[in-house]
Symmetry: C2
Subunit: 621 residues, 2 copies
């Protein structure tokens, strides 16, 4: 154990900048300011994006940047802290976007010696990047272009290293489908916001990494003790067992019963098929358990389909969100078809949430007679039709017929279709809603409305309302919701500097207190000793993301909800009669946030967060 | 180099017997008699099958045996000699069957120390066999049962060894589909005759092998010289370049023009789409070259599909036969759909020849009104419909609706349907015809009629008629066809003791002269020094296969052709007006074979072949 000064304990000290226009790369030193103010991961990404991507760039143009970051705990023995994060201006929302993925790519990137990669420019021809420690090559990808993620990955391992890790795009990303995902070699996705299309627009098929380095730890004894405490905390937490046994599939049926898992494009009609999604039934499909680098939870399960027209598949299971988006949201309870469509989405590189919402949107338009068989090329779009769902997944990925329009996201698709279609487009800021009903958990919904990336469940998953953690709160009430929304949003932003997995935050398997106990001995940076500083950095990140969007022209009018959520009372228990009281919630939230009534951070808040300089240029406050 | 006596130079000296009923295995010594009389591979298999499988066993019952053999040159530096062969009583034909596969399984099996494996009995529950040199385990396969070949292979490598090689079945074999295949980890198939169903009937998902041994060579110097000669012969042969560049795809269009690639279920109407199958177009799909163990030809190509509804695939290309069975035979020229259906067939484990012929059969029945939408569950079966073809491949594999019947093979399907369906069932002895028209090459067809396994193009590929090798012969003539049919049948049987690849025989890249030059120094067995002995062993094998069938009740009436081939003159050039003159051809052939008019070997022939004992028991001659 070394105790001498090293500014990069916990870090690798390098940022890799790859310019695809001129096929050059540079390795830049990590700066102390950046580390102290933003810690890592999501902090690095928004700071770099804010500083380097000017206002108004075309998200699919060469001036947009795609930033992949790791954190100071990535690749260490800390549990659940080795995720990777992609940040970019989103082609789906035209706003800031952060999208997080798991697997082994984050750890491998760090082992190669980098705290972040900045991808900029646009290659004339398809390429992939091969990073082998300090050796970085931009290579021709003609062979693997147009292949599914999985096929391309097999080829790329052969061309580089059998143990290489990678992030790839599939045919959807290549076709600039705006709901396309970034997909790792182990089928972990950073799916939301169209990162796949950003990568596709740069003609970049994959980033392939192999590394042999390791970050040094400042105080190994204290670090090891904190890790031990973390492991003990996990073992005592009932959520650990739930996630270990069945991952997010343990909550599918439960969440339906508490008013989430919104059915039939958020019409929220009773869904008879919900009983197919119990933990007992879903567990019967599991044939393998797996997990990310450095995580004892091992929440990935492999599903096997043994009968029916999708028999033969053994694939990474549909998460809670996907059982919903390809299931309950469409009135479909055919688990086999959901598993199959999930596989197609991984292969083509699609966001299963946005894709499912787009299919639900089309299905409701078909039901309402707004579109017909001429628009669907003869496909009958019925609620509860696995065949139509699977077919539309394919058409969206490959831009075939109506699929091409749906792949633009429901906001743009509704605008193009007109005829009142907008009413059925369930999104915030262009990002499709996930598997929660804002009417059934108001602070959770408030976070959808105010999230910088649009309707994301990950930006501020409200454990107060949903889990009663750290204290129980009435999910239907509107009082005090600003405060708890800010709490989870800031906490998440802070934890995503590590980069911790959200699943460990929602049950307090990880807290910012614990993070601080791990981070300080890892890095030796004095500031990180106090958990309150981590809270502050979380808030700083969240506010800088807000400022990014304000610079892009976003205002209070986009902190909103789809008409259905605002006006249609939920027809089923336990949320019967509930609507989403946007105005009350928003007013409270802005106040708690220290934002003015136009949703802009006040001068005081900016000063407190040391963001005055960033905001000053914009004259926003 | 050792020159001392070793009875097993070239061989491993062991046969592994696996009994799935009692989950025991024994390692038995290879016997000198067996080696000297039958050499290896196909010779071993028929001899063991004949001796051990009694008359009349249910092919899908525990008493049928599944024999996998290697040859004395397998796993050595000899080129193109490392294939593996599976032999069994076929559930499709109720006759003897031999089915040959490539890849690395054969070499690996030999490296594990075995010249053959005999699989017998039936496990109560799904199992796989894990052979790691002398360590043999019969393991539970509950996890991988019902998975596609590829998914199961990934799982099995994880459970055994990352470098293990294997033969697996897919969902089709598990469902006892009678046209199901045996599929290696590199997607090489031993597809014909329903080996997949035999394996499935035994509840055996896979045989997984890893070996570390090598056969010793008797005279390394002479052996190396012969190998050098072989390599030089290859380099001088134009066929080498053709196969190396594009594999069997180099001949697709050519064979259409010379009267093969029979279109529209052998109606042989002109096929406009044939122009899509030129070498130039097919080459444009290739993204990778690959090959079997110890073969410099590397005739496998990977196809990539970049556009249309099947975009994203990168898969082992459709061979000549598959471009035909999923293409021209159905009037379909959509290469992308053929590639996709080929992939499905590998994943589900189907024989693409029989599957395509079954689909063509159904399509013609639909055209003739013998079946309608009620039988097809609404599917419109039209010539040239990629969608219907792909859907039927899936239904056949998974036994859905009409697919269940078609998976029994066209013979049984026609019997079940009645109403004159038999007229459109293109098979011999129950085995569907391959991509050659017997009316366009009479000796080639004569081999279909007389092959012990049914209409196989591999049992006696007539290079005289098709290639003009070793001498040019009029393909339409009937004179002298018995002799050249016997020639290629015996030669093939002999070469399949090695086990040489058929592709090297058809162009005389390999001859029995060369085989002898390789085999004698490899084994040191005096008898093998004379190529005439190899010819004799080939004839012995072929005749013992015949006797096996006679014992099963086959007679001259099954040495026949479908009605269409016998009666309908070919309507297109260059074979316009041709029919297949069965009686003349058969009479000549029997005579040349030394068989009586009932197709039974004469006493003299049996004596010459040292098969009197085998035949005596049957009282056949």
């Amino acid at each position: 154990m070394s105790q001498e000064f090293n500014p990069w304990f916990g870090y690798m000290g390098h940022i890799l900048r790859i310019n695809l226009t001129n096929h050059k790369h540079t390795i830049e030193p990590l700066k102390k300011d950046l580390v102290e103010s933003f810690i890592g991961g999501r902090g690095f990404g928004i700071k770099i994006l804010f500083d380097e991507v000017p206002k108004g760039v075309d998200p699919l143009g060469p001036s947009n940047k795609l930033i992949f970051s790791t954190g100071p705990l990535t690749g260490t023995k800390v549990q659940s802290a080795s995720r990777w994060i992609a940040q970019f201006k989103s082609p789906l929302t035209d706003a800031y976007c952060r999208s997080v993925g798991g697997g082994f790519f984050g750890a491998e990137l760090k082992f190669a010696g980098y705290d972040a990669i900045i991808v900029e420019g646009r290659s004339e021809k398809p390429v992939y990047v091969w990073i082998n420690d300090d050796k970085v090559e931009i290579r021709d990808a003609a062979d693997v272009w147009s292949m599914t993620t999985y096929a391309a990955q097999e080829f790329l391992r052969e061309k580089t290293d059998e143990k290489a890790r990678m992030v790839t795009i599939g045919p959807a990303g290549e076709r600039l489908v705006k709901i396309s995902a970034l997909v790792t070699d182990d089928m972990r996705t950073a799916a939301r916001g169209g990162g796949g299309a950003v990568m596709g627009s740069k003609n970049l098929k994959a980033i392939v990494v192999k590394g042999s380095k390791k970050a040094t730890i400042h105080n190994e004894k204290a670090f090891d003790e904190a890790v031990k405490e973390q492991i003990e905390t996990y073992r005592k937490n009932p959520a650990f067992e739930h996630f270990k046994n069945l991952g997010t599939n343990s909550i599918v049926y439960l969440f339906y019963t508490i008013g989430h898992f919104p059915t039939y494009n958020f019409k929220q009609l009773p869904f008879e098929g919900a009983g197919r999604f119990t933990p007992e039934i879903l567990a019967s499909y599991v044939v393998k358990h797996n997990g990310c680098y450095g995580c004892m939870v091992r929440c990935w399960k492999t599903f096997k389909v043994t009968h029916g027209p999708y028999a033969g598949i053994a694939w990474d299971f549909p998460e809670y969100e996907t059982h919903w988006s390809y299931g309950g949201l469409l009135g479909n309870c055919n688990i086999e078809s959901i598993t199959y469509a999930n596989m197609l989405s991984d292969l083509y590189g699609l966001d299963t949430i946005s894709t499912g919402v787009a299919i639900a949107f089309a299905t409701e338009l078909y039901e309402k007679g707004i579109i017909g068989k001429s628009e669907t090329d003869g496909l009958e779009l019925k609620w509860g039709s696995p065949e139509a769902m699977v077919e539309l997944v394919k058409r969206i990925a490959l831009r075939i017929g109506l699929g091409s329009l749906l792949g633009e996201g429901v906001k743009r698709a509704a605008e193009a279709i007109g005829r009142g279609a907008e009413k059925y487009a369930i999104h915030v800021k262009g990002l499709e809603l996930p598997a929660y009903d804002p009417r059934s958990a108001k602070a959770h919904g408030l976070s959808f409305a105010t999230s910088p990336i649009g309707a994301s469940h990950c930006i501020g998953w409200n454990k107060f309302e949903i889990m009663g953690i750290p204290r129980k709160v009435d999910p239907f009430g509107v009082e005090g919701k600003g405060e708890i929304t800010k709490y989870v949003q800031d906490e998440t932003a802070a934890a995503e500097t590590a980069i911790f997995c959200l699943f460990t935050l929602t049950n307090e398997m990880v807290t910012l207190d614990l993070y601080s106990k791990l981070l300080y001995p890892a890095t030796g940076i004095e500031k990180f000793k106090d958990p309150r500083y981590l809270w502050l950095v979380g808030e700083r990140i969240f506010n800088l993301e807000r400022i990014f969007n304000i610079r892009e022209g976003f205002d209070v009018s986009q902190d909103t909800m789809p008409e259905r959520i605002l006006k249609e009372p939920v027809p089923r228990e336990p949320s019967k009669g509930q609507v989403f009281e946007l105005d009350i919630l928003l007013k409270d939230y802005y106040k708690v946030r220290g934002w003015n009534e136009r949703g802009i951070p006040t001068k005081e808040k900016l000063k407190e967060l040391e963001l005055s300089e960033a905001a000053k240029e914009l004259k926003v406050a």
